[in-house]
Amino acid sequence: MDFYRSHVLICRGTGCTSSSSDKIESKLQEKLIEKGLDKEVKVVRTGCFGLCEAGPIVVVYPEGAFYSHVKVEDVEDIVEEHLLKGRILKRLLYKGAIDEEKIKSINEVSFYKKQKRVALRNCGIINPEEINEYIAVDGYMALGKVLTEMTPEETINVVKDSGLRGRGGGGFPTGLKWEFAHKAEGKPKYVLCNADEGDPGAFMDRSILEGDPHSLIEAMAIAGYAVGAEQGYVYIRAEYPIAVKRLQIAIDQAKEKGLLGKDIFGTGFNFDLEIRLGAGAFVCGEETALIASIEGERGMPRNKPPFPANKGLWGKPSLINNVETYANIPVIFLNGVDWFKSIGTEKSAGTKVFALGGKINNTGLVEIPMGTTLREIIYDIGGGIPNGKAFKAAQTGGPSGGCISAEYLDTPIDYDSLTALGSMMGSGGMIVMDEDNCMVDIARFFLDFTVEESCGKCPPCRIGTKRMLEILEKITHGEGEMEDIDNLERLAKNIKVSALCGLGQTAPNPVLSTLKYFRNEYEAHVLDRRCPAGNCKSLLSYYIKEDECKGCTLCSQVCPSNAISGERKKPHVIDKEKCIKCGACIEKCPFGAIARK
C-alpha cells in the first residue's frame, strides 16, 4: 500500500546534513522497520527549511510538529512516542527566540509568518529526488501551458510584464534580457544558468538546487522555448556536491518522463540540459568569465558589449540568469502577472531570498516581499541580536555590497533603495553586525577575499585592491596615518570606475560604505590608536583591575603564554609583552576583574 498516515520530513540540505541528518534519516528508516511502521509512515527527504540555526530539522505531518536540534538519539522517542502513540514530543519542539511559549505547528512559527515563499515555495515541502512530488505541486504545468498555448513572444511578454528583475546582482529586467536573446541573430542559441554563487555567506541558490531542482529545469525549458534554444547548461560549483547530485537526479528523471529531450508535450519543441562543474572561483560568477569557463578557457571576464545575449557561449546568442531568478519563472506563469506584481514594491516586484548570518538569533534563509524593512528582517524574522547586544550594521550583497547602519533600519529593502544607500541587493547575503564588530576590520575582511579572488586580468583590480588591503591592514594594526584614509578613499573611487568587470567595480563598496557611515571608527584607529569596538587585536591591551582581583589564580592557570603572575590572594598582573590577547583569562575570571581596552 502506498497510502501513508504520516509523513516525516527530514531536512537534507547541506547545513542539516552536516549535522548528521543523514544518520537521523537512516536510523529512522531502521526504527520504522523494526516497529513494523514502514508501510504506514513515509520518510521524506527534503531541501532546506530555512531555519538553519535550529537544525537538524524534522517535521511530522499531518500535525505539522516542528522538531529542532534533533539528534540521532531522539529518533527512538519520535518513533515510540509520536508515531506509535501519537504524543507530540514537547521537548523537541522548536522554541523560537522571540516566542515565549513552545510552538506546536510549523505554520505557527514566527520565523515564517512575515515571509512569503515564492522562489523557495517547495523547499522543505517536497522530496527533491522524486519528480512526482514536484508534479504534485503543479510542477511542469507552466511548461505545458507555455508550450501548448503561447508563442515565444507571448512568453517573453509575460516575463516582461511581471517586472521580474535578476536576483543575482544589479537587478536587470529579466524579460528584457529574454527579448534581447530572442531577437539576437545566430544559431544555435543557448540557455545558461549561473549557479556559481560565490559570495561569502550566501547560499540561496544552493538551497533551491538542493530542495527544488525541478523548478530550475522547468524554468530553463520555458526560457529555451522563449528565446529559441534547444540546449541549456547549468554552471555550478563542484563545492556544492549535494546540489550537483540532486540536480543530476532531477535532470535524469525529467528526461525519463519526456519533460526534457525531443518533442516535449508533443509540440515539436526539443530541449536538453547538462551540468557544467566550476572549480569554485569567485570571478566565474561574472557572466563573461562563466562562459569562458564553460568553453574550457581560463575563467576571466571580458569587456561588454558585446553582451552574451548577442555573443555568448561559443560566440552564439546566450541567455543567462541565476538560479533564484529562474525559480520565480514557473510560478509567474501559474499564478499570473498580476499576482506576482501584487507582491513587493512598484519597481521591485516579487520577493527576495536573503541568507541571514552573523550576529543574529535565527540564522538561515528567509524570503521576504520586496519593500520589507531591514528592522522587520532582523527583529521580527531574525529574532534580534544575541546576548542583548546592539545592532550596528548589516552588510548586504556580499563582498560587492556595502554596510547599512542602524539609522537606516526602517528603509524598505528593494533594488533602488539599497543602491541609494551605497550597498546593493547582490546575491542576497546579509551579514548582521553588532557593537563588537569593528567596521574597519570588516572592510579588511572583504578586501582580503577580493584580493584572493581577483583573476588578475585588469590592473585596477589586481593591483588596486591589493593596495587597499595593505592600507586597511596598516590601520587595523594601529599604524595608520590620516593621509592613509584619504588615499584609501581615492583608490576606492578610482577602482570603481576603471575596473574591467563587475567584480572589480564593486570591490571598493565595503570600503566606501564603511567610510561613509563609520568614518569615526577609521579616525579612532588612526588618531587615538584605539579600536572602538574592541576588536582589533594589535590595538588592545589586557589588564587586571587591582581592586577587584581576589588572587584566585584561575586566570594564570588558563593563560597559554604564562603572561599572568602574582601571589595567591593578592592582585595579579598581566605582562603585556607576553600576552597574546587570546581572551581566555576574561572568560575564566569569576569576578570580572580583567578588562581590555
Binding site: 497510502f3 509523513h7 505531518y61 511542469y140 508533443g266
Partner: protein
C-alpha cells in the same frame, strides 16, 4: 511526456500523496493509539479508515492519532471532528464499524448513533 493530459493524470495521483503536508483537511478523524488503544485493536481500525478514504478518493479528511482518551475500557476509540459540528466519539471500534463510519458519517453526513459513546453508556 506526449501531452498535457498525461501530466495532469500523473499530477492527480501525486497530489494525494503530498496533500497531507499542504493543509490539514476540514474533517479530522482522531484515533486513540495509546497502549490501551493499540492493545484493543486500534491499529487495524486506523488502517481501515485510511484505506477507505484512499479508495473513495475523499480529499478533505485527515486522520491523526492521539494518546489515551481516558475511557480505556471503551477502546478502540475514534473521534470525528466536522467543522461547525460537535465532536462525535465512537467506541469499541473494529474494521467493519470503521468502514460504516466512513460511508455514513463522512460521505453521507449521517452520524452512526449506535456506535457512539452516548448509546453505549446508556
Amino acid at each position: 511526456m506526449k501531452s498535457l493530459e498525461e501530466l495532469k493524470k500523473i499530477r492527480e495521483d501525486a497530489i494525494k500523496k503530498v496533500k497531507m503536508r499542504k493543509d490539514s483537511g476540514s474533517i479530522r478523524i482522531v484515533v486513540g493509539m495509546a497502549t490501551c488503544g493499540i492493545a484493543a485493536g486500534a491499529r487495524p481500525v486506523l488502517m481501515t479508515l485510511l484505506e477507505e478514504i484512499n479508495k473513495r478518493n475523499i480529499s478533505d479528511v485527515t486522520v491523526t492519532q492521539t494518546g489515551c482518551i481516558g475511557f480505556c475500557e471503551l477502546e478502540p476509540i475514534v473521534e470525528v471532528y466536522k467543522p461547525g459540528e460537535e465532536k462525535v466519539t465512537y467506541v469499541h471500534m473494529n474494521p467493519e464499524k470503521a468502514k460504516k463510519i466512513i460511508v455514513d458519517h463522512i460521505v453521507n453526513d449521517k452520524v452512526v448513533t449506535e456506535y457512539s459513546i452516548g448509546s453505549v453508556k446508556k
